[in-house]
Point group: C2
Chain length 342, copies 2
């Protein structure tokens, strides 16, 4: 897992170089089709990537985005009206049976279909109209890291390709360098995890574009460290779940710059009153001041491109905490790399 985390800057660079031309051409093709809905279909870490894709694509393209509920198709046999939809399946292995069933149904109903996967010869690539590949090599750890950021990157490239003519570029080419900068945090994280070795449960919070990071960090903590990790947006967290917070309760918070920072600062101030124990990933001095601990991120990373560099210290945190607990993050108990569900 640590090896694959470290491979991410190079893997992202390679994926940009290999795929950017194809994604741009695909964008022209999709724009010509008068799409008025995008549906994303995924499970597990890939579903967390899709959660990011949902925010980015709505914000950048103005097209409404829905995250599919696979059982509606696979168990309830519903036939959705998707003639004017773009349906994007996301699966590391390309072998998620339920995801593939939804893609087949969508294609049969006239939708334009795309698969984002790591496996060029998978079942998924045989179903979809177009495949977007990650070029980071086979992922061996059960805990997805480089395929997760590879999927995030593809959503940046897809959003860039679908944005309105004349809209500002996302400049996603800066991401591999930002990811490399984030990797430099490893020694800091190594020292930090000792504090959390006996943590039994926690909450992870993010909002907007980094909401997906809260889901992904929580999933890594569950998979590799066996910590009961809840995930909320800072807005939903105030609707009820805040009641679980007592003195010393551990909360991890993504606080990049931008439109969500004000609300996150308010949440941090409230959590400080409640004497929660907060660890914040941020470049903001005020957010850091309000936190029990902070991981200071490079200041030049703006909100839109924060998602990949901000998940890297969280991936390192999970892998290094597992190690500090004497667990093997590459072989979590009870899990296999490919999960079969219908």
């Amino acid at each position: 897992m640590l090896e694959e985390i470290a491979q991410q800057p190079a893997a992202l660079e390679r994926t940009i170089n290999e795929e950017r031309g194809k994604v741009a051409r695909l964008g022209e093709h999709i724009k010509a089709r008068n799409i008025d809905l995008i549906v994303l279909v995924a499970r597990g870490s890939s579903d967390n990537a899709a959660l990011f894709g949902r925010y980015l694509l709505e914000i950048v393209t103005g097209i409404p985005v829905a995250l599919a509920a696979p059982s509606v198709h696979t168990l309830y046999g519903a036939r959705l009206r998707l003639e004017r939809a773009l349906v994007v399946g996301v699966s590391q292995s390309g072998e998620g049976e339920d995801i593939n069933r939804v893609l087949e149904d969508a294609r049969a109903s006239g939708a334009c279909t795309i698969g984002i996967t790591n496996e060029p010869a998978s079942t998924m690539t045989g179903i979809v109209d177009e495949t977007l590949l990650m070029h980071g090599g086979r992922e061996r750890s059960v805990a997805a890291t480089k395929t997760f950021t590879g999927q995030l990157l593809h959503f940046y490239m897809l959003a860039e390709a679908l944005k309105a003519d004349g809209a500002a570029s996302l400049n996603y080419e800066a991401i591999p360098e930002y990811a490399a900068r984030a990797m430099e945090l490893r020694p800091l994280i190594e020292g930090l995890v000792e504090r959390y070795v006996f943590m039994e449960n926690c909450v992870v919070v993010g909002r907007g574009l980094v909401y997906a990071n809260a889901f992904e960090m929580a999933l890594k903590l569950m998979e590799t460290c066996y910590v009961v990790a809840e995930r909320f947006s800072s807005a939903d967290f105030m609707h009820g779940p805040l009641a679980i917070v007592e003195r010393h309760f551990p909360i991890f918070i993504f606080a990049p710059p931008g439109v969500t920072l004000g609300g996150v600062r308010e949440l941090l101030a409230r959590l400080k009153e409640l004497r929660a124990d907060t660890l914040t990933f941020t470049a903001d001095a005020e957010a850091a001041r309000l936190s029990t601990r902070a991981v200071m991120m490079p200041g030049e990373i703006g909100e839109t491109l924060s998602v990949i560099p901000y998940i890297i210290p969280a991936q390192l945190f999970a892998a290094l905490l597992a190690d500090a607990k004497g667990l093997d993050p590459d072989a979590p108990r009870s899990l296999a790399k490919v999960t079969r569900t219908l």
Copy 2:
């Protein structure tokens, strides 16, 4: 909270009687508008009701449904293309500022808008094209119960009104009687909660139509009992989070009859191997046999109408567990009835 739980059968009956004519007329109006997307906007318990609405509406109408991310509108200022959409806001108080902002934006962009609320004179009712009201009276407990099931009921009525001509009726008129039957479980639940007084964290599982019940039971446990309660579909649970399960780990499972029961039985068998501690709400003898404890539901309740009667023992469980722990479920620490977020 216990009082309001007990009011539900009568409240549901009243809402059916008062609203069914209006919802049916509204359905004709919406069908005439050639809607090809439904967007649901909510937070907290109302968002859990919307999660149910999403499954039911897709299954019954074939129209794709998206759960809105309010921050896309309120913080990122995106203008989504919603001319052919039906946008449904769900809010007990009708005063959720972010929900109302999304409804305003949607209406401005040409969408047809509906509000489901308990407050006829709220801000929301002034924004939307049509209001669907719950008729169970003012809800005083911070933990929503009768407004949650009232919202679920409105989704049944809306799905019935939007279903294809000639499709089978949902027969939702049976729900108040089923809810009354579920209330008879109170003495059983009173005995059961003693076992869970020192539970610190747990997982709640449901899939398909009762997926929303997993979210709602988890939220009630967090709000009123301060238990760290995760919520998953049985499919997602196998993708990673299963690793947190160790011997004696408490898991609550909704297992109504129908298409999801097979998968839930498989999960129960796996959890039995892992020696987890399971409590299952079910009418199925095999699911009960695989569980550590079971709450046996009336056998005549089919899958489609299971959602409301199956949440009632879970509501009772949360309220009675709070009581057994010496907590006041009507006044959870750190919370207010109306939460303001943008």
